[in-house]
Point group: C2
Chain length 378, copies 2
Amino acid sequence: MAQTRTHSGVHRLAIVGVGMMGGSIALAARERAHVDEVVGFDTDAGALEEALRRGVITETATSAGEAAAYADLVVVSTPVRSIPSSVEECAAADPKPRLITDTGSTKSAIMQSLSPEARALFVGGHPMCGAADAGVRFSRPDLFEKSNYFLCTTGAAFPRLYAMLQQFIVDLGAHPILIDPRAHDQIMAVISHVPHVLANALMEHAGSLCVGGKRALQWVGASFTDLTRVAGANPPMWRDIFLENREALADSLGAVCAALQDFSAHLRDSDEAGVVEAIDAAASYRQEMLESADITPETLFKVTVRVPDIPGSISRVMTALGDAEINVEDLTLHHMSRSVGGDLVLFVTGEEVAEKAAGLLNDLGYPSRVSFMGDGSE
Amino acid sequence: MAQTRTHSGVHRLAIVGVGMMGGSIALAARERAHVDEVVGFDTDAGALEEALRRGVITETATSAGEAAAYADLVVVSTPVRSIPSSVEECAAADPKPRLITDTGSTKSAIMQSLSPEARALFVGGHPMCGAADAGVRFSRPDLFEKSNYFLCTTGAAFPRLYAMLQQFIVDLGAHPILIDPRAHDQIMAVISHVPHVLANALMEHAGSLCVGGKRALQWVGASFTDLTRVAGANPPMWRDIFLENREALADSLGAVCAALQDFSAHLRDSDEAGVVEAIDAAASYRQEMLESADITPETLFKVTVRVPDIPGSISRVMTALGDAEINVEDLTLHHMSRSVGGDLVLFVTGEEVAEKAAGLLNDLGYPSRVSFMGDGSE
């Protein structure tokens, strides 16, 4: 992959759909990729106007086709289900743009639907960075810094156009990764879409449970809130993602269901070995995941600190640790209520460091305790 | 529920199994419940010795039965599957103790297995507080402060002995809640055991996925790590919990599986309404959950702050917010790597407060952005 600062060849960029993602590509392109002209189009006239006013784009167009004409690169950054029609419109521009890409979070359905004309100009893209914030006002030029950026090609636009997009992505600050569209969708199903479906299913199941006059939701703890943090997120966006990736997602859900049914069978048979095997497999994959994320779980210790729910208490905790040069690898707050406060859980490397942290915080009046990370949970 | 400081009537307490939980009950009983004598027993002679040395207990016994004789209250705090035999041994002591309870995290199987003699003396208990830390050295007298404490009775020990235990629990600082053992187990299945099984199943499914030369685990983001935080936790402890609660757990897993299969059917049928309904149901239950936890989601905003992975950076962020009297309701750190740093995600109430926080942190050199909490996620 070319990491040198040769020019990608993109002088004129078109952005179709000037939301947070499209806007961030525009800003990053101008700041980092030597792009001078950015023409924008959006079906929402207000959003387009705002993008121009904020200086995210340099000019506006009245259609996707108009934006695409004369462009070296068109980035289609509309909601995932409208991407194919926008791409076709851009591919039919006169004169044709040199290259079209998109930012959709699924890839197979989009790429399969394209006409041969569009396909010849198209390389699919999926930036793996925070797409949570809607609206051009959340655009920022550093969004892609050190993030992964998947690229999918049908082969038709390979290799010259691919190399051009690859260089452009590198210029944005991201790591381009060539991947087969089906592999991409299978991986996204497992690491992103299935977690959302599981969170939704668990939330709905627990939400409806009321036994002996007690509602289950009343008693949830940290493991439940961790698992349901993304439950019910952005219905229109997730409806589209789920449906666009329905094949890989349904396959993946089928596999998870089969695993749950196997586990239930172990339970009904009181099969201890089967139960332990399932836990052990999860433990070893999780260790692998943490290791690949640069954290060694064998040395990771947890410091649980009870903090009151008043401004400044977490700050005092973190200041004390910072002053003592204690590095926090990861942290999470289990909020209980305004009256009681919460448990701040800090992950630090090494038992000595953890004990030092807990001692320091106990001295400050925050009851703290150390535990080894693999010890269990509520 | 009696909240007055009348004495529970427990003068002599026996602890069978002096781990973190048993030890914490001993410490809290002496500090807060006017208990003078605490006799301990543990099959691990080293742990028993340590409990005495640390002053957690005042004397040791050579068997559960010896500890139970003459005790007003026996707390059996051994691993969940050995609780019934320990309770029987205590109930057969001469003289009999006045009352026996336990701290097992499942209740039906234990209570059903007891002999009539044991049942007459037994009220089941389940403290809902951090049982993650193994070993008497993690005992602390404030463990139960403002936590929920489930109590289950067969009716045999009701109401006099129940009132005694209830007062003792109040003295420890907890809120006693009477619940039917089956309702307890169903609720625990849903809010704690199912989340662990889902985390394990997702971790195993994703862990084994390798397509197109790419391993899925390489690309996981925040939603995946949130969902698998408890994956593979403490295999011996969770094996016992899963098996003890196998009936309610298998039922609950069956219901979750059915929901996943329904959702897959919506996907395969491209049934938009069905997909949206599932997301909406989860969203509304999640809102209810957050509201019952004293946080109003309509006003909850997310501030995402890029922080370098060096000691003190989170502290500087939290200090700046504390100085500005900005209260953080919840927070989580998405650790990426040592070289890149991570995204600190802060939840604050009100858009103005969120914008103020982000402005302040941007000024300090930490790139920050605000989003509405319901906007989606990666």
